[in-house]
Chain length 473, copies 2
Amino acid sequence: MIHPVILCGGSGTRLWPSSRKAYPKQFAKLLGKESLYQSTLRRLSGEGFGPPLVMTNETFRFMASQQAAAIGLMDAQVVVEPCLRDTGPAILTAALMLERDEGADALMLVAPSDHVIADVPAFLSAVRQGVDAAQTGALVTFGVTPDRPETGYGYLELTAKPNGSGAAIALASFREKPDAETAAAFLAAGTYLWNGGIFLFRTGDVIAAFEACAPQLLAPCRAALEKGAEDLNLFRLDLDAYGSAEAISFDYAVMEKADKVSAVPLTCKWSDLGSWDALWKEEGPDANGVSTNGAVTVIDCADSYLRSEEENMHLVGLGLKDMVVVAMRDAVLVAEKSRAQEVKDVVKTLRAAAAPQADDYPRFHRPWGWYETLCIDERFQVKRIMVHPGGVLSLQSHHHRSEHWVVVSGTAEVTVGEQTKLLTENESVYIPLGAVHRMANPGKLPMYLIEVQTGSYLGEDDIVRYEDVYGRG
Amino acid sequence: MIHPVILCGGSGTRLWPSSRKAYPKQFAKLLGKESLYQSTLRRLSGEGFGPPLVMTNETFRFMASQQAAAIGLMDAQVVVEPCLRDTGPAILTAALMLERDEGADALMLVAPSDHVIADVPAFLSAVRQGVDAAQTGALVTFGVTPDRPETGYGYLELTAKPNGSGAAIALASFREKPDAETAAAFLAAGTYLWNGGIFLFRTGDVIAAFEACAPQLLAPCRAALEKGAEDLNLFRLDLDAYGSAEAISFDYAVMEKADKVSAVPLTCKWSDLGSWDALWKEEGPDANGVSTNGAVTVIDCADSYLRSEEENMHLVGLGLKDMVVVAMRDAVLVAEKSRAQEVKDVVKTLRAAAAPQADDYPRFHRPWGWYETLCIDERFQVKRIMVHPGGVLSLQSHHHRSEHWVVVSGTAEVTVGEQTKLLTENESVYIPLGAVHRMANPGKLPMYLIEVQTGSYLGEDDIVRYEDVYGRG
């Protein structure tokens, strides 16, 4: 039995505008109908795998459990890291939890949630090789067999050339991202793999390695776990304790120093989708080097990626060469593809200009579901709201706006003042300015509602909360 | 007194997506807060000018009168050409109307509605020179002094070099769009002007020229006028008569053949905004050759035009060279700037693919105002609706949908079944499936309303009309 530990607290900006701080790439549906996080969960489920342990943060905790539930994984255990402390403390804490619950011999497989591995059988066959090595006490890392002299990844140097058996090979060293010449030499040597950031070991072995290589992390992580608390169906680590742990990566804290480290070669296609360039490649460019996603028309383009995220937004490229175009309802990126790495600087520029598109996503995710603004003007705003089955908004009132609610799908339980009633599709209710009100979805299907606000001030901060099941102030 | 005749029946596609069949470039706010049509009306109003005569078609009739009213021109006379017959019949019909009402000596100035002339005093000074010539019986055309060997325009060949006085010069010939070598020779010679499509003459003189050069047009145009009818505050030419006129341009029918033709040089800046390339130039590129419009962030770009038409849609260009990017809520164009002329082919491609974005505009203009879809799903749709003061929608019912209306600005007079009532901001009404209903704006300000439709079929063709003040079936 392997216990998957999924790391999904990151929020990269190099795939802006599709990936933003409020809704990062692991949760976005970048390829196909599932998010990368969901594909990762699915890849590590089924026979031989225990319920996943998901390490995430405050902001993503509901997204993590909702997206797991949406693919039928009801037993995912979500652990909230109350502050950012890099992968070292996260993996140690997960190991301590699993050791406590499953014993020191329990196998844990640590994986990022934002990588693409399409060939699941090949991946699982590598995992089986990893299990053999881990059961001898090794810390196993999975390395991707390079197919090009990539300068964007770190490398694993092996002590021997892989012999095709797929078996783990003892590691000689970790190597930083190389320059082009070094990368070419690595590729030619045949004894280097890309560092994929996937690990497999027994809980007892990795804890022992932490004790040997990074003993300072033990006390804070143990305390974060002991003083942590169940909160709804999440487990929240203790902020003070976890915050006192050093922020350090797992590679740096342990793997680069530990004794018995080996690597299993992954021979299947793999990508960390680190930039739009990678997504262009992943989508399968045609003979002209063009790949597309969504409502796109391509006229005489080459070596380009064109992506429209909105069904009703038609993107047209005419005569493009080496370009990336990503169109969303609130933001459009047009960039030279060879400069895809600089997209993270675009986000910094937008932040400096206080553009909300830098970090906000047009669909705002909340514990109870999501909302999006359809139209906003000086004295009115129209929102589309989705409430999950069982979702309950806070009991609230507003000083400056009235609201009209029209249910367009599902069933809503609506409280206005002293009265509570059920509304179904095509029914509406009016919330006068100042009235205490609440909306919930008591049904088994998602509930969709259109809200029309009118008033002199429409900011999200005009809210008085009387009660909130999610503990928000 | 000069009588302006504004031609605004065209619908070019080379500025797609901003210009579409349903909302072409003369009505779009391409530069600044006024449309090109409005700027044209304004340029030809004030002292010395009579009320404008606007020649347009069925589709644009309400836009033409509403945009005139919006800039305070309440006396514009809109003439509806019931079918497309090019500029020959349109100008002859306008001349016949003006001769009838103002006499054979009345001066008429014919101008396209989609050109940019920023220096109004310089333009008016040229018009005064034109008046002098026209009063001697000449057919005057205005030609733009070239500042480059442009191959995209037709040329006027003068019989003499302009002497700087600005006076009209007799015309030697009309020349088609030249090749690059010829254009360079034209520029060097100094006796060629770009054909600006602006004309000035007395009604009697131009009618006489039609009689001499294109006599076949007289009977159909006279009949179209005589059998035409007032319709609301428009004048509609008779379809059968107008339709029997030959479709022919004014240049070809008259100017190239007539005897006494002269040209007045226009020395001010002029553009026909024939492509995105022209708009890029008109917006005033910076030192890197970059010009922008709307919410745009430019990082390391050169020789490019970036335009976002939506306030809440942020467009980012990174490393662009020689590009045009135009972002709208339903369509995004990214094109090599040097291929801007091919944008018309983009529209053909989209039409062939039945993409609504080819011809429809996201804001649908109607006689009573406009509407736009904010959100559409399988079983519901949300629209934002604006009704002009005095606007009245048809009395109607639907077989497949119910509607919730929420007034968000202004006052609505709403009829549902036998009841009529007034709704003001923040009031709502429900229209059950099948109920006969109507909406009107009895007020002095525009009325804005949010409509939430729910039902199994939401097409615009689910409508039974009982009565319509605009004569729609």
